[in-house]
């Protein structure tokens, strides 16, 4: 039974991984930018909640009300300035620039908040759980985060397939030059895509902060897990990302159940196996030569 518990917990954590991964996937899918600062941005969102919720006198659980709009704006402005400027100089530049941003963010956070761990205290919701059997207990928070991830993915799916802006994002992702020929200002569309990606990473950061403790250097491992979820699931598929997150979560949970020190290693091992056996990911289509 304790195995089943581990698997259930793993599935639920997979939602959080998918939440981290979808923004990474969206940025890469539309403008071929691998944002190495992705994990650190999530940590920034969590620190903003810690710092600003008391200032605005609101409970931490409502902190998304200001963190989310802030990241929407930050995403658009960041794309139209820094990311676009580096895109214009070639794909390698975007890697270097986002890597640089990651380092700057980590060090600024260390400077401002020291290396101490923090967490987002949301009161009783953080600890309450449903008692299913003696050995299977599911925290409300885990369920809530999983549901949040599914809702975000459903929302993204609807947005990309049904709305005018969603169609334009997909057109620009396919062929930016052809998109210009039908009147689309691709830079503006890139900005909107980045804005949405930043909003999802802010949500992921807040969810992460309520789920476990974090410190200024937590971002790198978040980035790695997000990458792994995207690659396992298959690039460019939102549901593949969820599946990838779940597989990674279950692998980590099983590893941890065998021996706590195996948690991350088990996830990495599954990732490497997928990369070796099925590099296009579980749901990905093989790229025709």
């Amino acid at each position: 039974m304790s195995w089943i518990n581990a698997i259930v917990q793993g599935i639920l954590v997979g939602g959080l991984f998918a939440l981290f991964a979808c923004g990474l996937s969206l940025l890469f899918g539309t403008m071929k930018v691998i944002n190495l600062a992705h994990g650190d941005l999530a940590v920034v969102a969590a620190f903003l909640a810690v710092e600003l919720a008391p200032v605005f006198h609101i409970p931490i659980i409502w902190s998304f009300l200001f963190v989310l709009p802030l990241f929407l704006v930050l995403g658009y402005v960041g794309q139209r300035t820094l990311i676009q400027a580096s895109l214009d100089r070639g794909p390698l530049t975007t890697l270097l620039v986002t890597f640089g941003v990651a380092i700057v963010i980590e060090n600024l956070l260390l400077q401002a908040f020291s290396a101490d761990s923090h967490s987002l205290d949301i009161g009783s919701l953080g600890t309450a759980s449903i008692h299913i059997t003696d050995q299977i207990q599911v925290a409300y928070l885990s369920i809530f985060i999983f549901v949040l991830a599914v809702v975000v993915l459903l929302g993204l799916q609807y947005f990309l397939s049904r709305t005018r802006t969603g169609h334009m994002i997909r057109a620009v992702a396919d062929d930016p030059e052809a998109a210009r020929l039908v009147g689309i200002d691709y830079r503006h569309i890139f900005g909107i895509a980045a804005s949405i990606a930043f909003a999802t990473v802010a949500l992921a950061g807040l969810a992460f902060g309520t789920y476990s403790s974090f410190n200024p250097t937590s971002g790198a491992s978040r980035l790695l897990f997000a990458f792994e979820a995207v690659v396992i699931g298959g690039l460019g598929s939102l549901w593949g990302t969820l599946l990838g997150g779940i597989i990674l979560g279950v692998a980590q949970a099983i590893g941890a159940h065998i021996d706590p020190s195996l948690q991350v290693l088990a996830g990495n091992a599954v990732f490497l196996v997928v990369l070796a056996v099925r590099p296009e990911g579980i749901t990905g289509r093989r790229v025709e030569a």
Binding site: H167, A179, L181, I184, D185
Partner: protein, 244 residues
């Protein structure tokens, strides 16, 4: 003194470089309303570069592009579409992850007011209505070309630029597509097309111009020239041809 009709598209003295390479040298053309104007020339003559420059994808080092007398030379491609210049690019360049209908919708999002909408495109290409939810990769070459034309039409351009319509298509499909031109002209559009198939261009166009290595070698009404003269201009033969 004579009040000449103002051309819809007036291209003056375009010179375009691709890096070090001079792709176009001092190319001019005037296309009047309701006209079909054909650019002919061999591979690499600069025909596609000319259309792409008119659409705004290349910036000329010299020369201007006027649309209805307005200088659009400094406008981006997306602003030129709204001004009324639409290009159906070489190789069709449909959006592969979008369906037929979504391709057309994306074409209509920045459209000018005018008679063309998705419904009219579906009336023009009857087969399309049943296949609106298919990905464009599942279509034949001719069908893809039709979607590419439809995607440009729904923007309601003043000037439609068609680059190598016949490329990779069966002759019967090419004839069908050229058969559409009267309907487009009837709707008030003006067409500038690029074609390697000279006989096709001569049949369809009211004016032709031949490019050779980025320079104009011949310009006028098709019936002004003998096939030999066109051939000489096309291949750059040194003979001046029969005296006119």
């Amino acid at each position: 003194m004579t009040d000449e009709p103002r051309p819809v598209l007036d291209v003056r003295g375009l010179t375009v470089f691709h890096g070090q390479l001079r792709a176009l040298t001092d190319v001019s053309l005037r296309v009047d309303a309701g006209e079909v104007y054909a650019m002919i020339g061999a591979n690499g003559a600069g025909k596609s570069t000319l259309l792409r420059t008119i659409a705004g994808l290349h910036q000329p080092t010299e020369g201007t592009v006027l649309l209805d007398g307005e200088d659009v030379t400094s406008l981006t491609p997306e602003r030129r579409l709204v001004a009324g210049i639409a290009l159906v690019p070489e190789g069709r360049r449909l959006f592969p992850s979008l369906t037929v209908e979504e391709n057309l919708l994306v074409g209509s999002y920045h459209s000018r007011p005018g008679p063309w909408d998705l419904e009219r495109v579906y009336r023009l290409f009857g087969w399309m209505r049943e296949r609106t939810h298919q990905r464009t990769a599942q279509l034949s070459g001719g069908e893809q070309q039709a979607v590419a034309i439809g995607r440009a039409l729904v923007a309601n351009p003043r000037v439609l630029l068609l680059d190598e319509l016949s490329l990779g298509l069966a002759p019967v499909v090419v004839r069908q597509i050229y058969g559409l031109l009267p309907e487009l002209l009837g709707a008030g559009m003006t067409v500038l097309l690029v074609e390697q198939d000279v006989s096709q261009a001569v049949r369809a166009a009211s004016r032709i111009q031949c490019l050779l290595e980025g320079r104009t070698t011949l310009e006028g009404r098709p019936d002004q020239f003998t096939p030999e003269e066109i051939e000489a201009a096309y291949f750059g033969l040194s003979t001046t041809g029969p005296a006119s």
